[in-house]
Point group: C2
Chain length 199, copies 2
Amino acid sequence: MSNEKYHHGDLRNALIQHAYKVIEEKGVESLSLRGLAKDLGVSHGAPNRHFKSRLGLLSALATDGYTSLANATLAAADKIDSSDPIVRLNAAGKGFLRWALSNRTSFVTINHPEVINNASPELVVAMRNFQGIIRQFVAEAQQAGRLSNLPTITVAMYTNAVPFGVATILNNTVFEHKFSPEDCEQMVEDVINLVVPID
Amino acid sequence: MSNEKYHHGDLRNALIQHAYKVIEEKGVESLSLRGLAKDLGVSHGAPNRHFKSRLGLLSALATDGYTSLANATLAAADKIDSSDPIVRLNAAGKGFLRWALSNRTSFVTINHPEVINNASPELVVAMRNFQGIIRQFVAEAQQAGRLSNLPTITVAMYTNAVPFGVATILNNTVFEHKFSPEDCEQMVEDVINLVVPID
DNA sequence: TCATGTGTGTAGACAGTGTCAACATAAATA
DNA sequence: TATTTATGTTGACACTGTCTACACACATGA
């Protein structure tokens, strides 16, 4: 131990990065502060200097995840060279789903019941912010008159449920059907076009 | 202790019933075998005689849940006085969603990552059986020619994602919008009719 | 330059957990 | 009735989160 320096230097960041790795490999339930400490070669109490609790760490991870998701969704809509609200909603849906499939660890984390049911105030804000973004896209598409005129909350629920549900099912380890990356991409196209058809 | 009888009599069943209660009140993460034992007035090792492990108990709960869900879905389709595959698929979807909303504890349990990722062989069978039921409904509706003719796996994914996603979002404790039972029922109608329109 | 305060890491303690093995008791069965 | 089997108890171990007291190192400013 005499060889090691007393202060880690960037323990907070190291904890976050290693936490992702652990969740990816063994799931949210297997994430433990003591385990992280051991892997990073610090004492078992060190993580508590940076995260009040295990659930605090998870909330921090999930908050980052929601921020990343919101950015990806908005970016996907902006990337489309169209101001047609339907086209934008369609692109946002695909952006959402593609993000979920290429950021599986974050997706799993932000949707884990243990995380949601113990969300920090910041995480709650991030979650509601994302919900608001989706509702906004839907409301604009409705105003353009090419989407169901049922209550916005209903259409938003429907629109949101599809990418969320599909990503969850595809992440389900028990789900039988295996998809190649190309099949996955085709699935994204097809499924989102079913929910938000762009003639 | 001399007053109590040595054998509980129906501990296995008592464990299951009390487990539902704990999950309903405090979530899957708060379910512990020792906690159940304490609540039921037996020693901490007693539950292990009936369930090999905590995850074994959860698998048992989830297997029951999937059986109940499959029955509810099939019953909803059969209850409809129609042999039109589209009408039957529509009814099955509503049955699925209504089951999820009136059996929230079971719904939460069967979709909990910790449960899915540690599913017993029996649970895997039950899950795949349910997936098969959905695919069957979709395949028949496709053959009737009134549903998208994209690959069945894609349409099944889409069809499945909606009730699953909506129920999950409605169960999300952070979700802002609160629905009355009537609003909920209307939502079920509207959302499923969006996915599987019947005329 | 040096004293001091603040942030960070350590070590020990406690309560809770799953799970195993050894033992005890009751019920079922032959 | 004797013996096997199912069920419950007890103790142990390893692991967890989290708290408190302590130790170290660095930044700040006199």
